[in-house]
Amino acid sequence: MAEELHPKDGLEEYLINAFEGYEDETPSDSVWQHIEGGLPAPVAPAGAIIRPIAWKWAAGIAASLLFGGIGWTLLTFHQKIETLSGIVEDKTRQIEALSGADSISRSLPAPSLALSSDKSAAAAQTPPSLSPQRREKAPILPRTAAAPESEITIYENGVVPEPEPESVAASTSFDKVPDPLPLHPRATLLPLNASAPAFKLVPEKQRLSKNIAIKAVYAWQVRQAAHEDHGNDPRQSFSPGEIRSQTDMRAGLGIRLRDNHIVSFETGLEYRYRAEEAVHRPRFRYRRGPGGSQFEYQLLTPGNANKVSVTLAGIPADTIIPENEPIELSIKTRQVVSSINLPLAIRLSTPTAPLQGYIRAGALLQYRISERLEIVEASTSSPYFSFPGDNPPNVAPSTRQSVSAGVVMGVGGSWRANRHMSISAEPYLMMSASRQEGHMPGLAEGLSSNTFG
């Protein structure tokens, strides 16, 4: 400001005199409240005793623990967990009951195995008698009604008896035909599924009252994951690599209660949309059986809620196909999941303005309201097979509901545009606990195939 004075005309003098000492204008009380809200936490006077933990602290921590505990309990009951020994026992009984093949049951491991997340341990549980040589000659069970006294016919050494008449309906009824061999149990315990980091923008209208702010949430992420699985089923061999892409979007509203300049509690409701695509490329060896030339691959989803069958058909019955002809399939599936999330978190902010850093941690309760699996496309490189009629094959969509819980953590920054609005941005990580069973985690959690010819 220049200290030099320039000559004033009449108007200028008038203005200066009019405002000289004029202080008769008073701002509203809310101005100080807003100023105080942007100030660092007040310094405690010297000698102050340690303040006891406020009830809001305790309530927030207790609520987070409570939600986390309830969620974990629900998860435990939601996902059905079968022990290795139970699966083996069940399949063994089926084989013995249907085929009376004692030799097969003797080759199975003793039913004393427990769930293990150790793949090597699981692999070590495979029946030792199923050597590679024996695997080549593993009996192939046709999907056929066969003789009245038995639904399953086992062929030894590839010797195929005369085909017998059968009804198409019976031959395609999966529920009626049990697995001829037990699936090698592969229960995989995944304590955490971590999602890739994403960013969310949170415009926040501040200060509806002294301590409440409403925020809107939008987040978007795309991630890709590759899973490898090397199946040990004698009937199948997998080509490794299920490539998965996932689009994840969220939108929601939240409320933040500020205890002081540093601590605040957040909750709200978020809607989450997730679209996931996975590609499965199983490879099988062809075995001819009675009743025609068909090969069927069955894709099981969690809890067998949605069985997807892919049938290759259409080659002439007299076509000569070499034994052990490898058949590769490419099946692209798509799943859409919608869910409603209820987060409850504590946020610790730096006492600075207008830029603030913060960390957020808490519990997340999720209600998943829909799930649908469909085949987008299916193809095969085999010259001997083609997909029937419509491609991709029709799949009856399935719906499932579930409740789960987990934790949510985030580190971010916010910028206060003015006393009414601030904008936050944070990469966030959400982890949820889940248990899965089967060969592949995620969409396809159990695989089985039946070949019949």
Partner: protein
């Protein structure tokens, strides 16, 4: 806590009571200043709020030379200019300015013989933002045209012409008021 020095030390130590005292001591004076720069009372309160946040945040930069009130006043002016820039209301030199028509039968002008300062504030708020800012800086804050030009990123001749137009417009408004 009475003396300015005690208040200052208390504010620097983060004492909320000292901060409140400082605010109460200067709020009216600074609010009048904000009203002269703003379009409305609400905007003036916004400027006041932002200004005091800066005061408390940057209080350690006050060197003690000159009165504390003068230093706070300077912060308020800078805050007002920043607000106007952010809202893009400091009109560039090439833009045709719109002069709001207050009307000959504006009751504020007709009742002008009352509280001069209060009515002056309303007349100032009726001026375009660019005119009003230059008028405030030159007449009431004592800036030179060169300093105004640097502050507003315009040239000196523009500052002079804006001042002339502001005074002419204000004079007409005052004449209308005084002659009624």
């Amino acid at each position: 806590m009475n003396t300015e020095e005690q208040i200052l030390q208390g504010c620097l130590a983060g004492d909320r009571q000292a901060q409140r005292t400082l605010y109460e001591r200067f709020k009216n004076q600074m609010f009048v200043q904000c009203l002269r720069y703003a379009d409305s009372r609400e905007e003036a309160e916004d400027i006041l709020h932002e200004g005091f946040v800066k005061v408390f945040r940057d209080l350690h930069q006050y060197s003690g030379q000159g009165p504390l009130g003068a230093w706070i006043r300077k912060v308020m002016v800078n805050t007002a200019l920043q607000q106007l820039r952010k809202n893009q209301r400091l009109i560039p030199t090439t833009q045709i300015e719109h002069v709001p028509d207050t009307g000959d039968d504006d009751p504020v002008i007709q009742a002008f013989e009352g509280n001069n300062a209060r009515e002056l504030i309303r007349l100032l708020q009726s001026l375009p933002a660019g005119y009003r800012t230059v008028l405030n800086l030159y007449v009431l804050e004592g800036y030179s045209h060169k300093e105004i030009a640097e502050q507003l990123q315009i040239n000196v001749s523009t500052s002079k012409s804006q001042l002339l137009r502001a005074k002419e417009m204000l004079r007409k408004k005052l004449e209308k008021t005084l002659n009624t």
